[in-house]
Amino acid sequence: MNAENQAFQPQPVQSYSPREFHRQAHDALGNPQIRGNFRKAMDGLMTKRRDSFEGWDLETLRELGANIRMRALAKLPDLLEQLETNCQANGIRVHWAEDGEEACRIIREICEAHDAKSVIKGKSMVSEEMHLNAHLEAAGIEALESDLGEYLVQLNEQTPSHIIMPAIHLNTDEISEILHEKTGTERTRDVDYMTAAARQQLRERFMAADVGVSGVNFAVAETGTLCLVENEGNGRMTTTVPPVHIAVTGIEKVVEHLRDVPPLYSLLTRSATGQHVTTYFNMINSPRKEGEYDGPKEVHLVLVDSGRSSIYQDNELLDTLRCIRCGACMNHCPVYTRVGGHAYGTTYPGPIGSILSPHMMGLEETRDLPTASSLCGACGEVCPVKIPIPDLLVRLRREAVGEGRGNVPGAGVKRTRKEAAAWKGFQWMATHPGVWRSGTAVVGKLKAMMPAKLGAWTEYRTAPKPAGRTLHALVKQHQADKPSVDTPDKEQR
């Protein structure tokens, strides 16, 4: 192995934008590598999830999970205060950030107070959401991802393509090439070799890091406990080796009781990767105590709002905040499976991303995401906390065309006079049955004049031909042809 001494310097990340969804989706669809990688990975994840719930009363468990999350959200302001009080009592310092920028500033200031030059990171989607790495680097602080997938993505100057498996868009050969290119390992298909090499590279960085930054899966209000779910042990290293640990999370991650955690954990691991348990489950209660030999000397918790409290104000959109970030919705999404995570151009891709991102980035920026679903319902069917994702997609479509409650940033941005008039026309036809009947009958009679090309539809399919006579007409004929069997008695009903 020749990897040990290769010091890798983080690079600025390659960026995608939700505004470019169509182009990014087009590129992904035309890329057999991407298509193949996602199809294979999603098929595997779907099978693993299904198998892992074998013998479980999944519906009851989902109901329980949904109720735990709904109860936590119903009491959210109180639980957050309770969490703060109990964390502080445990010696964890609590910070509140209204947006990502403020959260970045808080984290940077903690780093600066410790004269930190290098930060090691456990996996945290909230930190991705607020572009923490770029912020720290601009301040001269190096931020290195320690989750293997995140590490690879960072080496490759990309962003995660999945919230649980950030490098799922890469296959073995690509990973081998990235590691070779950036860290000097040998080109190989030997996964164990590559894992060992990355482990070796990262191990040194853990030892040298001044600050560890992690996410939080569940923050328990009644005990002030931060739960962290992970498989590689990098989460434990991040939160125990450096002298300072900063946990950063969205305000919605709080749960009321410690006893709420096991059902959510059971749902999370099975829904995400089909695991019964993860290799590591960390419960962080406090910094290093008097007489203890390890653990950070300081633990901070940064609670980020970033649009969440505005989602919270709407009794329908509120369901979005139940999410426990398992990624099952994307694993089962036929659109995500085909275009992959980067096409969405958002931190959170797939169905959950399409109902969450508009609140964070506005509908102008994310206008194409709520429609990027056939509303097949697969996401809602597998969601472990029963978020009605398809209904929320429709709600955001309403907001986008200006027929919702107007409380999502950018509401009405997609409304055009032409489209609105077309739907008004449809309404008029469909509420005037006589017009409808004669109109549809005419369409049938004129079928020879129907265009054989119907825009995008006919690029891939033949155009449907209107039938010569409508069902309305056929039924009339059918009834006229029938010998009357109705008795007067029946007619009176």
Binding site: H22, A25, L29, R35, P334, V335, R338, D368, T371, S373, S374, L375, C376, G377, A378, G380, E381, D391, V394, L396, R397, R398, E399, A400, V401, E403, G404, W423, F426, Q427, M429, A430, T431, P433, W436, R437, T440, V443, G455, A456, W457, E459, Y460, R461, T462, A463, P464, P466, A467, T470, L471, H472, A473, L474, V475, H478, Q479, D486, K490, R493
Partner: protein, 251 residues
Amino acid sequence: MTPVKCYPPRPEKVYFFGTCLIDLFYPEAGLDGIRLLEREGIDVLFPQDQTCCGQPAHTSGYHEEARAVAAAQLDLFPEPWPIIVPSGSCGGMMRTHYPKLFAGTALEKKANEISGRIYELTEFLVHVCHLRLEDRGQPEKVAMHTSCSARREMGLAETGPALLAQLGQVELVEQARAAECCGFGGTFAVRHPEISAAMVEDKTLAIEAAGAERFVTSDCGCMMNIGGRFAHQKKTVKGEHIASYLWRRTS
């Protein structure tokens, strides 16, 4: 999500809501559905003032327009007869979305009442009519594509295959990823044509790979999409609405 439905005994009469796609493009499928019901001794009432359930506007975000169109359908079914819909997608709209669409409005009660009487055709044939079929057709390999709305919104993954299983000469083959969407999704196919095309391409390849000579579906949207793709590729696999298929093979 899907409430447990308690099925009533076989009624004397039913209403038939044909759906706009069937009305315009596949009227024979609607008529065959009516014929199947009539053969079971049920009088089928077809309110001539029916138009569309309002779903296209609903899923496009045009809430007001959808509600107006839906409201125009609510008065068409005054008697307490079941309302049969030969589509899981329109059936799902009327059963699960009407109550939400009218929640808090003057029509809420009526919408709830109508919603409780909505049955998808194959659901009604299996669970209420307890339909028995005698196959008179030639041996054939057939794949069933159950629409996502029938499968997930209405919880009816089993009724179509249960009916096909009664046809002695028909071999029901299962395509890979049978539960995956065909990519139609109403306006989705128009707004995101390339993604939709990738989905329908995979669907047609899976149906072909399963060795099916024909695919049968209970939703005309899927049929238009999958069948249109097969035709575009000049493939011989044909699509048929399950009502027409059952009627053709058993009459």
